[in-house]
Symmetry: C2
């Protein structure tokens, strides 16, 4: 696993990484804690963690030889922007439809 710099969307495209985020929303976990929840090797988990960290989805706190992974909001921002962009689109589309319908009703009543 070379370390490509993945963008926000590529980061959450991986099901394992999404599962990690969900796990971390319950508890902060060490790399080994995380690895217990997956079938893959520990180094693989370690690399996923690095990717999540780089992309701002988690922060990491070293305590002795352990690394705690803590969910972090930053990574989600770009996703939220994306969604909200299209949310606005749907809302405005709906409004246009409403206007159209109202006009039709008005015409009928005249």
């Amino acid at each position: 696993m070379a370390q490509p710099t993945l963008d926000t969307f590529q980061v959450i495209a991986d099901p394992s990484r999404r599962k990690m985020l969900k796990l971390l929303s319950k508890n902060s976990l060490t790399i080994n804690n995380l690895a217990d929840n997956f079938d893959m090797s520990r180094p693989a988990v370690s690399k996923h963690v690095k990717i999540l960290h780089t992309a701002g989805f988690i922060s990491i706190q070293d305590i002795g030889r352990e690394r705690y992974c803590i969910l972090k909001q930053d990574g989600f921002n770009e996703l939220q922007e994306f969604i909200s962009y299209f949310d606005k689109f749907w809302v405005s589309k709906l409004k246009k439809l409403e206007t159209l319908l109202n006009n039709k009703l008005d015409n009928k009543n005249n």
Copy 2:
């Protein structure tokens, strides 16, 4: 480009496909209209469109020999659920923090 069935997250992981969705939020476009906005070959665009369609991000309307791509809300649902799951997480985390702070203030005032 074989046609693997990509999940919602994989679909938007591709920058070209995200760009297509943005373009389609301005206007409905044919395959060739879309292709004009990209460096890649037309068949490549065609395949991206198929992927977007399969995943419910667009609907397609054939008019003669042209295919119009129209933005569709369905594909975005899973993304919204994902985001809202973590949104709730941040909100509840914030509330816990508030409670904690309030308790500390109360203690001071006693």
